[in-house]
Amino acid sequence: MPEMTVWQISSSGRMPRMEVIVLTTLFSVLFAIFFLLLFVRMRQNPDSCADQDSLIPFRGDELTRPPLSPTPGELTAEKNLSEKSTDE
């Protein structure tokens, strides 16, 4: 019978082996740094149209910015919504 390898985690025993924790922590911290650097770098890039795209959900809305296309239907809906709840 082959002998078993064990991870002792009980109060009576040894400390768990650390290599997995060290390696994975190192790896994930490096990745997090890379991730943040990439993000910061992209924030500084003025050429992308990305920030314009963030306004796509507001196409047709009156409330935030001038709409890119008129939306009478939405305006009617918003007027109705501005009525108060029954408990207000």
């Binding site: 082959p2 002998e3 064990v6 997995v20 390696l23 314009q52 795209d53 935030t64 009478p72 239907g73």
Partner: protein
Amino acid sequence: MSSDTTTKNKITIEFDDQTPRWFMIASITWGVVAMLVGVICAFQLNFWQVNGHIFEMMTSWLPERFQFKSDGIEYLTFGRLRPLHTNAAIFAFVGNMMFCGIYYSTQRLCNARTFSDVLSKVHFWGWQLIIVGAALTLPAGLTRGKEYAELIWPLNIAVTVIWVIFALNFFLTLKVRREKSLYVALWFYIATIVTVAMLYIVNHLQIPTSLVHAYPVFGGVQDALVQWWYGHNAVAFFLTTPILGIMYYYLPKAANRPVYSYRLSIVHFWSLVFIYIWAGPHHLLHTALPKWLQLLGVFFSLMLWAPSWGGMINGLLTLRGAWDKLRTDPVIKFFVAAITFYGMSTFEGPLLSIRSVSALAHYTDWIVGHVHSGTLGWNGFMAAGMFYWLAPRLWGKPLYSKTLANFHFWIGLVGILLYVASLWFAGVIQGLMLNETDATGTRLVNEFVQTVDKIQWLMLFRAIGGTLYLTGFLLLVVNIYKTAKSGSPVNETREVFDDPDMKKDQMTWGAAFRNDPVTYTFWGIFFAILWIFLPPGASHMALVVTLVFAYLAVKRFRANTATWSKWYDDVSENYLPFTVLVIIAVALGGVIQIMPTITVNRAANVEDRLQTLYTPLELAGRDLYVSEGCYNCHSQMIRMLVPDVLRYGEYSRLGESIYDHPFQWGSKRTGPDLAREGGVRGNDWHYLHMLNPRAINAQSRMPNYPWLFQKEIDFKVLPGKIAVQQRIGVPYPIMTPDEIEQGAREQALAIAKTLVDAQVNIPVGKDEKEPATETEARDHLASKQIVSLIAYLQKLGSSEPVEEVEAAPTKPQGIMPGIPDELRVVKPEVAPETEEN
């Protein structure tokens, strides 16, 4: 966004808001069912009587002819209801909520009505029929025995067809869109659609034995890996990515300001979809799964923390300048709490993936608490926020009561916190108790049932927490109903410019894939994979090359930022190349993990044990074990941990479940592990235990199974089942149908004889005659399902030594050659003998 207005036609479009309305009603309805069943399950874990016996108690005061006489009801046991709860919560509640959110937002983001109303209707009704099918089949014990993949094969086909219809409708809507760019929410929807399709098809490959039963083509470790690749990514791509898409649309709308950083969302999206798919093996830490796969799962799980929190930060910071709304707007309250729970559970997930943490937490209620902080906190609260925001828009009237919505929020929040905190404590307490040894470190001090007893009061708090959450959700039902009743269905109209010359979807495949970003990413990942797989030495070289590529990529990116950005802007205006890139990103992790296990020579990877084939009767018993959902409470995997080995015996080898289709390693131990249960106790012990577990152990919470003593074994189906087993690679010898049936009957008689000899009590049905002689008693028992189940339980852990592999030196015996598998290397210094010395 300037374009030539002379070519534009101004038209008015009416959105199809009927489909999101229907999906919302369906989600709320099924949500109540899912949560109600969940609460019942929670109480079952406190009081075994809730498994059906309660009806006998409740009717005991009635005249005798009205009294309900049964120790249990087969349709109401925890083993059958728990799959109903999970499937209802995932596919019915969140599924319908996701479709509601997608159908509503996609039309607005595309400035186009959904491509086909007919496809939308087929999608809606098809999905509801599937859910009804699940609600009927799962309590009936018709299951595949794989978590979140329990539905039987006809329903699997129906899911696939309906999913394709949904995909077709969605992609054709993208095709006819009047908006050049694909907004980030649509990316997440794309990732959801393609990845769920891939996962679902692979994990549901099976060969039917009848209209309601099939065996999966994968077995043992292969099945375990495929299952958790699917299971983990069901969380990722069914419960997370679509909800993130919903967050990116509905949160900015509710806060009335654009997302904090659109560019962060780009990094968030790609890193999330690429990394998530690799993390499945963290469900199998310390098991017989080869170590390289376990570590791969751990690495990627930890890395997943960064993109997950990137998304959370992006969501929360979207509220910059609008935090005052948190005080007044219940929608914002729900969204903020949901995103916070998302952040909390995506921190907890990587934490639980660390091997030493998993050693304590896995198989305990901590995992259940983790899952529920995601489903109740993240999914449930996002659903509530979205419904409260949508209902006034879909019915054209303000929300009936903000006060009621606020009350829902607080009662739900208290419910979740009570639920999750109880299970944290319960998990840690039970984990520590199970691992506790005496001073020598060689003997455990707690019986399993003692640990269950210890956490009982916490389980009660868990049930109360769930009940509070359900109560809050019922308030939502009232609020939405009243809102809908006060208004009438509204389909929003919008005037848009129809521009036939809009430059979208014109990117060539060459422009999409032959460029610096793709090239550097491809080679970087290629060498990183070589680093993982090559033997030491060569792997270091591959790591160096990877780092060189990373350096060159960064350098190139800095020099050509505008070009790289332009490429991505172009891709996000072309839905097909975008979709292909997503497919590549998600398929990569799956292929690398799963292909080696599928293509490997299984016979050479059994370690030193090879499972003994099940006899036909044992196979019948195994199917019963699967059907009753025993895997929901009992694992069959002894991990390579001292406490596991001390409690249950030698650790489980790869070869010991090689013929198990489906594998039954389990994911939760409400009861003890059964991997080596065979031969430990007598047949009469199992007989009595299944009839009344309290007769064996007064503290047991296990249900009674009286119907197993009434229902007959179906011997006639066994030849067909054996034939399918042979087709999927189980090396049964050639047997005629008569031999199979005869062999099963003889084994059943032999077991029945031991029971008669032990003078067991024989329950007899209303229409059955009491056996008068020992022979009659034996024949009576030999026909009952309980005998086949006993045959199976007594077979568990049965294997034969494999000399060739045992004789081999400490070379890797994992599935992937060339990867040192240290877990299987002898470590004498921690052997029990050494501790004693």
